[in-house]
Structures are given as structure tokens and as C-alpha cells.
Amino acid sequence: MVHRPSFILSQEDWSLHRKGHQDQQRHQEKVRDAIKKNLADLVTEESIVMHDGRQIVKVPIRSLDEFRFRYNFNKGQHGGQGDGDSSVGDVLGRDPQGKQQQAGPGKGEGAGEAPGVDYYEAEVSLEEIQDMLFKDLELPNLQRKTLDDIKTTDIRFTDVRKKGLQGNIDKKRTLIEAIKRNALAGRENKYQIIPDDLRYKTWEEIEKPHSQAVVLAMMDTSGSMGQFEKYIARSFFFWMTRFLRTRYENVDIQYIAHHTEAKVVTEHEFFTKGESGGTICSSAYQLTWNLIEQKYSPDKYNIYPFHFSDGDNLSSDNEKCVKLIRQIMEVSNIFGYGEVNQYNRSSSLMNAFKNIQDPKFKNVLIKEKSEVYKALCTFFTSGEAIRAS
């Protein structure tokens, strides 16, 4: 009979056992998918748009819960242990008040002291959201204009040479050369470097012709634009600005605020200042037209005017608006009009624009926050293909 030991102690190499990490990665992929599905809500997430400097946004992702039939923890009694002198009435913890109900995306529930409550909150960086959001967006109908000052230069280290700048020494390759040379001569473990061993990284200049574009962002800041309307318009322009900055190098953005008069304002003023008064939209269109004539010649620039308003315009001004829009459209790539109309009232401006049958004219009606995403997709989609949100 073979004697079998009652135990074996061993230690193996587990480095190839990657299952946990792989499934973890798959889980993270799923989190990202879930965020993508929530993009429409994230776009108007206040903590992002209000720009409080945080780069990480917490998003409660509920679809990744592992759902099952379970008891309502809040309605049952549970066992616990005190430290010897517990008595009826002792408080173990508190739930943050009222948080349960408003668990919308981005609300960022505080971690309650409540026992057993398990929810999953994914952390995403602004960059990640941007990447996902901007992936399919682009400036529509972008054309190449005259070639001066519209190229991007880029530097790429693609080559290794024996001569070069000291600052660009390729240490690794230099060392390898020295080792090789010494090894060839039969000398082991000698790494003395002679000038012949030196290797330098060398770069190449790449010139990419790039189209030049200007975006003319017009926003109604009149008294009729309420909190909600302004918020929507700003969310849109916030993302538009970020989108253009990250994706295009040569895009000018001109901010135009208007009520009865229009003026060019700084980015900061555009996003923060509130005004009041009546509305004459043609003032903004006129200013846009002037800018095009004076600064942004259609020969050199792709021109993208966008206008956000609540649609409440002085009726007698409508005709002039339509005329100006037609005029602008002849030289611009598209014309985007977004109307924030929460209660679906019949608007004077949208009515006036009904008859514009130009494919360059794109309009979006926004009734709720999540539709800002739809607006982005509508305006920044190439050609005629407009994606469903």
C-alpha cells in the first residue's frame, strides 16, 4: 500500500491566471456602456455645466445592479449586536432625508449610514464623457477654403540617426549599441560609451491642411428667457465650445448676446451674464452678417451660425429675420436654430421659419433637459443623416 500524505503544501505560479481581471474589465466596459446610455441626461448635468472645476463626476449607474427577488430591507427587522448596554430606542444610523425618491442620474446620492444599502456609483471623468459624447459629432459640410494659415503642423519622432541634438539622445538605443559593440569585441559587461554609439531621435514635421471655420453663437438674453431656457441654451453652448476646442484647431468662436440689440461678448460674459428687455432677433442676425462681411470672408472660412432663443420675438421683426437668415445661409455651411419651448406654446419665430426649405437650415425644438443631446447630434452631424437620440 502506498502511503499517501495527509496534506500537501505547494506554491504555484499563478501569473497566467487573469480571470478576475478580465471579468473586472468586462464589468467596466458595461459601466461605460451604461454611461453612454445616460448621455442625454449627463449633458445637462448641473455639476458639469456649472463648471465648478471638478473633473470627476459621479454617476449612479443602476443598470449594473445584479437584480433578484429580494426582501425590502427597509421594511424588515434585522439582528445586530451591541457592546453590552444597548437598549430599545438606540439609534444606529440615519438615512439622508428624502434622497431615496430623487435618484435621478447625476443627483449623486450621499453615502447613507443605512446598513445594507448597496448601490453602485460609477466615477467618470469629464474627459471620458466628452470622448463618448463627441465621438460621432463633427462640423457638417466642412469644406477646404484657401490654403493660407489653415494648416496644422505636427511633430512626430519617427527616425533614429547618428547625428542630432544632445537633448534628443535615445538612451536606450545608445546603450544597446555600446553593449553590441563590446559584445562583438568579446568584452563582457563593459558598457563604456564612445561617440560612435550615440543615437539620436529625429523628428519629422507633418503638415496637414486644415479647414478654417468660425462659429457664431447667438443667444437670446431677453427678459422672456427664464431660468430653464437660459440653462438649456448655455448647456448647449457649453458642450459646443468644448467640442470645438477639443476637436478642431482653427475654429473661431464669436459669442453674440442679444435682446433688442445685439453685441459681441466674451465667453465669460456669455455664460454668466443675464439681461432683460424685449426681443428683436434680427439684431443678432444683422450683427452676424456684419461680422461675416468684415472679418470672416466665406472664401476663407466655413461659417456656422447657431441661435438659441425661446422663440418669443417681436412679430413685426419676423420678416426681417427670415430675410437675414436666407442671406446668411447663402454664405454659411449650415444655420442652426434651437428653440427652447418647455410648454409647447406656438411660437412666433418657429412659425416664421416654417417656410424655410433649405437643407442648410436645421432647427431643434427643446422641451426638456435631455433633449440638449439631441440638439448636439442634430447640429453636428455631417450630411443629412440625423441620428436619433
Binding site: Q11, H21, R26, F67, R68, Y71, N72, Q81, D90, L92
Partner: protein, 450 residues
């Protein structure tokens, strides 16, 4: 681990094994494996080193591993109910940590080998899980990763709904209703007296499907769902077997951890420890049995109860109890007023938005602890009708016993049941004292009070 350390550990294991045997513990052959943290945590998350892949395990792994990386918690060991019995030790454990763990693990293994709940469990699960995982991978190649993953998602949502009485059995016990009663005439001429009398109209008993409410939801779906492919049935069957394998561990958590803690304490007392080791051991042990205000620490409660049993009846009785009881009967029979007071057990509940201690009466505490362990702590849900409305719809019923279901979870789980069954599914339960039926038709949830 260095070779010298391995040798030292080996010597200690030998000594511990001898002491344990001498005390009467009886375990399978042991296989100790020293592995790095991410491997231990992988095993912890999957429940078994060879189990199939799924993102939910990855999520658990990530959570556990993070807690370890931040120094918030640490798993020292992992032991698997199998023959031979595998135990995984964390590389980086000190010698005294490993001594405690080895002694603890032997207690578990003795329990696996002798407790009646484990009698029907497969002792070759390491191998069968590996084989299943291989097959799952093949299904992924054949039918696509997405399809397999989505299907597993759905099975996981209802995986607890099995019938634990079927552990180790291939055939269901015959239920009373399946046995057709044969009416015996009282005497050979009985029927003569009935001639000419109007026969009582025979009411055909409605044919019910299933004849008795079926507790094993997975089994029922596996046998009767229409349009399920072979590979899906296989996945379902594998996951059901795995749940049956894990079930006894759910049902004996307090006993089993208490038993292992009782023995690691006894065994280490027999060993010659250095002063530093003794202090380190005391610190470790105290950490393991530290009580919690919002849950029961099975190590603590179990240990106290076993020690009380020893005090009252001696060790002989302990062997019997570890063989015949499970947590519910263990608590019911051996949790005393004195123990409740000593451990300061209570019940707490949500009052307004505060979690408050609401009960200290020991009998009520004991009863609630038992109730909370009915069906492993999961709601009991049975198949009431597998051909509801004569339309092949599935009608489930929650056996309501005072605690409502989590509606949000319920509404998210029903679509998974629908995905498995392939037709409209219903679930009857109680909300605010009224019976209510939730329905999912593949697109939407409906709710109606009945």
C-alpha cells in the same frame, strides 16, 4: 514565500494536523496552496477557482480587491468543500497567521465531511466546475459572447430559487398529490346498493400544472420552457447544480464559522507559541470575532454558542449537533437568554429615517433570527401555474410571510424571468396588506391589485 518559510510552515501544518486528529476532528486529505492576493480574491469572488467567467464576479472581485488594497479588509484563507479539500493561503501571511488559518480550515473540513446538510453535495465540484467553464467558453465561441452573457445574467437573477431538498438527489420524492388514491370498496357488494341511484356527478378535478406548487424555479424552467436551446438548458442546469452545491454553506454559516473558530482556539492553545506569536494570535482572533452593530458576526455568535453547548453538555454532544443541525435549528435549540444577554443581541428596524433598536426580548430576537434564515434568507417563490390563462404563461407566487419584496428589484428581475420562460410572466405578492400581481409581457411591467 521563501523555501525556508515553506519548510517551517510545513512543519507547523504537520503539528496542527496531529493535534486536530488527537482532538477527534476528522477531515479529508488537505491540499494547501499559497497564492498571491489577486488570486485569493478571484477565488473569493467566484466562490471557486475554476468557476465560469462572468462580469458580476469581476465586479465583486474588484470591490474586494480594492478593500484589500486600501487595507480595509483582508481574506486570509479560502477553503473549498471537496475531497481532497483545497485550502488557499495568502502569500504574505505571517507564520502565526497561517497557523491560525490551518487550524481554522481543519475545523471547516471536518464540518463539510460530517454535517448532514453537506452529505449530498458533490465533492468533485472543483473538477466539474472546470469542465462546465470549458463548455461555457465553447458556447461563447459558437453563439457569441453576448448571447451567453445575457443568458447567464438572467439565470443569475433567479439562481437562488431552487429546492434544496433535491441536493444529491436526481429524483424528486413522490409528493402526496401525485399518488392517486385507490378507493377500496367497503365490502364486495357495496356497488349493488348504488344501482338505480342517481350517481353523484363526478366533478373532474382540474388538471393543474404543476400538480403541486413548484419551489425549484430553475428546474421547472429547465424542463418546461419552450424554445430553449440545448446549450441554454445546459447552462441553466450547471448553474442550478452549483447553487445546490453552495446552498448548505448558506444554511450553516453560523455553525460552521463558529465550529472552525472553536477549534482554532483549542488547537492553538495546545501549541508552543512564542510571546510575540501569542499576542499576534490574540489580536487576530479578536479581529475575527469582533461583533457588528448592524449584522450578526457568525464567527462570534457561533463560537459563543458552541462554547455554551460544551459547558452545558460536554464535547460529546457537540459532535452530534455538528452532524444533525443547521443554523435555524441551532439558533432555535441552543440560543439561550443568557447568551442573548451576554452578546447583547437586539433587533433593529427603520423608523422614519432612522435605524433604531426596537427589540431586546430574547425570545423575539431568537425567533426573528430564525425567520430571517428561512430559505437561506431568500424570499420563497413558487411556480403556481405553468400554463396560466391556457396560454403557456408563467404564474409565480411569493409565499408572503410578513415582509414585502423590494418592488424596484422585483420589476427589474421579472424581465429576466421572461427572457428565460419566453412568454409573459406574472408574480403575485403582497403590498401594504393587499395581494398584487406584477406582470411582464416582454416589453413592459404592469401592476394590478387583486
Amino acid at each position: 514565500m521563501k523555501r525556508e518559510e515553506m519548510r517551517q510552515l510545513e512543519r507547523s501544518i504537520e503539528e496542527i494536523t496531529d493535534i486536530a486528529r488527537g482532538m477527534g476532528l476528522d477531515f479529508y486529505e488537505m491540499r494547501y496552496e499559497v497564492c498571491p492576493a489577486d488570486i485569493i480574491y478571484t477565488f473569493g469572488a467566484y466562490g471557486m477557482p475554476t468557476r465560469f467567467s462572468h462580469w458580476s464576479f469581476g465586479k465583486t472581485f474588484h470591490k474586494m480587491k480594492m478593500q484589500y488594497d486600501f487595507g480595509l479588509s483582508k481574506i486570509y484563507e479560502l477553503v473549498i468543500n471537496s475531497d481532497p479539500c483545497y485550502a488557499f493561503l495568502l502569500d504574505g501571511n505571517s507564520l502565526i497567521q497561517n497557523k491560525l488559518i490551518v487550524a481554522h480550515v481543519l475545523g471547516h473540513c471536518d464540518f463539510f465531511k460530517h454535517n448532514a446538510k453537506f452529505a449530498g453535495t458533490s465533492r468533485y465540484m472543483v473538477e466539474s466546475m472546470a469542465a462546465s467553464a470549458d463548455r461555457f467558453r465553447e458556447y461563447e465561441m459558437e453563439h457569441g459572447k453576448e448571447a451567453v452573457e445575457t443568458f447567464i445574467d438572467s439565470v443569475l437573477a433567479v439562481q437562488e430559487h431552487i429546492d434544496p431538498s433535491l441536493i444529491g438527489r436526481t429524483q424528486r420524492l413522490q409528493k402526496p398529490a401525485d399518488i392517486i388514491p385507490v378507493k377500496k370498496p367497503a365490502d364486495p357488494y357495496e356497488d349493488i346498493w348504488a344501482i338505480g341511484e342517481k350517481k353523484a356527478e363526478e366533478v373532474p378535478t382540474p388538471v393543474r400544472f404543476p400538480a403541486q406548487p413548484e419551489k425549484d424555479l430553475l428546474l421547472f424552467i429547465m424542463e418546461h420552457a419552450k424554445g430553449m436551446e440545448d446549450w441554454q438548458r445546459d447552462v441553466l442546469s450547471v448553474m442550478r447544480e452549483e447553487m445546490l452545491y453552495f446552498w448548505p454553506q448558506i444554511e450553516t454559516k453560523i455553525m460552521n464559522e463558529g465550529w472552525a473558530s472553536y477549534w482554532h482556539l483549542r488547537i492553538l492553545r495546545e501549541m508552543d507559541l512564542t510571546e510575540a506569536e501569542t499576542i499576534e494570535f490574540a489580536r487576530l482572533h479578536a479581529g475575527v470575532i469582533a461583533p457588528s452593530r448592524t449584522s450578526l458576526n457568525p464567527y462570534h455568535v457561533g463560537l459563543k454558542m458552541w462554547e455554551d453547548i460544551e459547558k452545558r453538555w460536554g464535547r460529546e454532544r457537540m459532535w452530534e449537533i455538528r452532524e444533525f443541525d443547521s443554523d435555524m435549528s441551532f439558533l432555535r435549540n441552543y440560543l439561550t437568554k443568557e447568551l442573548c444577554d451576554e452578546m447583547d443581541l437586539y433587533l433593529y428596524q427603520k423608523v422614519g429615517n432612522e435605524w433604531k433598536v426596537v427589540e431586546k426580548d430574547w425570545e423575539k430576537v431568537r425567533d426573528q433570527l430564525c425567520t430571517a434564515r428561512v430559505n437561506g434568507g431568500f424570499p420563497v417563490i413558487v411556480v403556481q401555474d405553468g400554463d396560466y390563462l391556457k396560454n403557456g404563461e408563467l404564474y409565480l407566487k411569493h409565499s408572503y410571510e410578513g415582509v414585502e419584496l423590494d418592488v424596484k428589484y422585483l420589476e427589474k428581475t421579472l424581465p429576466h424571468v421572461h427572457a428565460l420562460w419566453g412568454r409573459t410572466v406574472h408574480l403575485e405578492t403582497m403590498l401594504d396588506g393587499r395581494p398584487v400581481v406584477f406582470t411582464h409581457d416582454g416589453k413592459k411591467n404592469h401592476r394590478r391589485f387583486v
